[in-house]
């Protein structure tokens, strides 16, 4: 077993990205994400990688766009206001069918907001944010270990579907230290094999290869009939992702559940504390924790609404965003209640317990 290292989420995801073969990283600093860019600044030169602190988030995402066209593993990261600035570029990357990994260490919004943990970018991440018909694969970690593991997964999914992938984290997971175990770094041979996978679409494939030819990469298609076909093809790709890549965790799910909680990321961690306490007190509560928030595990939720379940409770660090997806999943069969905290404030396990038991305000 690999050695356990006590590390901040921001640093762990950066280290894991490098091990996954990321050698191109472009970003602009912002709290609470800055340890990530700092780690990349320190480590990229040591692995013959490229680190650029861009002049802005807009510049950084466009560097990602360009670099991704070479077929190499590319990453950028930011926190909420900076991610908003990247949205135009993300739409271009999606439109051009390119892989890239974007890490969002969310903070309180809207606007400049504050620097405390929040989940207010759920809509932006899962429903668009940039313009046009596109989808991001969105992964939501809830521990530092999972945050690190998702770097590897994000690059694999980005390559597999030639689609941008976002890791939707938050200030708590970025700043917190927990023990992490890392996978071994990709070997030179594995890196070369990754390169070769991209020769059929990247800009300048290795000229020594037989049948190599240059590819044009673009998101502009002025002929509506051609664009129509392009977008229909994108749609088919998104269908495939929805079919293959839904991930979620079932926590304490059983026939005895009286209430089912749905929460992701940091909110799910706090909900687990509440569920554990209630279990000790003799009340059985289950939880579905979406790991991919797009594609969304609608069926996983509707499948666990057993006979005894009275209601569904959604906990989020926002005014109520994912709750809309949960309502689609529940489809009117049961009441769906919502507990939210905003401004970068976290709820306590007690507040979640009260919401589950219906004793809030007592």
């Amino acid at each position: 077993m690999a050695e356990k290292i006590l590390m901040k989420g921001n640093e762990a995801v950066a280290e894991a990205a490098i091990r996954a073969g990321c050698r191109l990283y472009f970003a602009y600093p912002i709290t609470p994400q800055s340890e990530l860019i700092e780690y990349m600044a320190k480590m990229m030169p040591k692995v013959d990688g490229v680190f650029v602190q861009a002049e802005s988030e807009v510049a950084a995402i466009n560097m990602v766009y360009g670099a991704s066209g070479t077929g190499r593993r590319v990453m950028t990261s930011s926190s909420s206001p900076g991610i908003s600035l990247k949205m135009e570029g993300i739409s271009y990357i999606a439109g051009a069918n390119l892989p890239a990994v974007i890490v969002n260490v969310q903070r309180g919004g809207p606007g400049l907001g504050d620097i405390q943990p929040a989940q207010g970018d759920y809509f932006q991440a899962t429903k668009g944010g940039g313009h046009g018909d596109y989808r991001l694969i969105v992964l939501a970690p809830s521990t530092v270990q999972e945050f690190a593991d998702m770097a590897d997964l994000a690059f694999d999914l980005a390559d597999k579907y030639r689609n941008p992938v976002m890791i939707l984290s938050d200030g708590l997971l970025g700043q917190m230290m927990e023990p992490v175990e890392f996978k071994p770094s990709k070997t030179k041979e594995e890196m070369e094999a990754l390169d070769k996978q991209h020769y059929d679409w990247c800009m300048y494939p290795n000229e020594d290869e037989p049948n190599h030819h240059h590819h044009e990469i673009n998101s502009l298609e002025i002929d509506p009939l051609i664009l129509e076909q392009h977008v229909i093809k994108l749609g088919k790709k998104y269908d495939k992702i929805e079919k293959n890549e839904i991930r979620y965790e079932e926590y304490n799910i059983s026939d005895e559940n009286e209430v089912v909680v749905v929460a992701f990321g940091t909110a799910a961690r706090i909900a687990k504390s509440a569920i554990d306490q209630l279990q000790e007190e003799g009340t059985s509560i289950g939880m579905i924790r979406p790991i991919t928030v797009w594609p969304y595990p609608y069926e996983a939720i509707s499948n666990v609404l057993h006979e005894k379940v009275r209601k569904v409770v959604v906990c989020e660090l926002n005014l109520g965003q994912m709750v809309e997806d949960v309502k689609l999943a529940v489809n009117g069969k049961l009441p769906v209640e919502f507990l939210g905290k905003v401004g970068g404030i976290l709820f306590t396990p007690d507040e979640i317990k009260a919401k589950i038991l219906g004793t809030e305000g007592e």
């Binding site: 006590l6 708590l172 700043q175 687990k272």
Partner: protein, 179 residues
């Protein structure tokens, strides 16, 4: 077993470092740990604080609302978190910087003049290690050997003299904790 700790003090007193080395030692002892700092803007003279959880099962929420142990290096830390300590919990505080102490009678309290002890040992930098020592002496939460090992790895090359002072401070803390 699950122990929730808040360590708190002025910026520079080493409250966050207390948390880091407790978490590291807990990890070395084979336990699950989490370390969550406050990273917002804090008023000068306020508190820098960290939530640490050490448990033999998976840690759900890393945020400590009601600590089993509060380590307070200054008075604002007691004022801010003292009332949240669990009943029969433990307050360890630095009498040199906490003139008002606590009024609570339902908790264990260990007082130590940590500034004076550190000054006597020879460096104000080791004030926080006295507090860690007290935690170990009183609760046995983490093993001294694991902590010594971590500190040695961290300081032996960088500053062997300071390592020595740190270990003296921890041992002094353990003595106080065991009383």
């Amino acid at each position: 077993m699950k122990t929730e700790i808040i360590s708190s003090g002025f910026g520079g007193q080493g409250a966050l470092t207390i948390g880091k080395f407790l978490a590291k030692a807990g990890m070395g002892d084979g336990l699950n740990v989490s370390w969550l700092p406050s990273y917002g803007p804090e008023m000068r003279g306020g508190t820098a604080n960290v939530s640490v959880v050490i448990a033999d099962r998976a840690i759900a929420s890393p945020l400590v609302s009601y600590p089993d142990i509060l380590i307070a290096l200054n008075q604002p830390s007691i004022d801010k978190f003292g009332s949240d300590i669990k009943e029969k919990g433990l307050l360890i505080y630095n009498t040199d910087m906490c003139p008002h102490g606590t009024k609570r009678k339902d908790i264990d309290v260990i007082e130590a003049p940590m500034n004076s002890i550190a000054r006597e040992i020879g460096s104000m930098k080791v004030l926080n290690m006295v507090a860690i020592g007290i935690v170990i002496g009183k609760t046995g939460l983490v093993k001294y050997e694991t902590l010594e090992n971590d500190l040695t790895g961290f300081l032996q090359k960088k500053n062997p003299d300071l390592l020595e002072l740190n270990l003296i401070a921890i041992k002094k803390g353990i003595e106080i904790g065991k009383k």
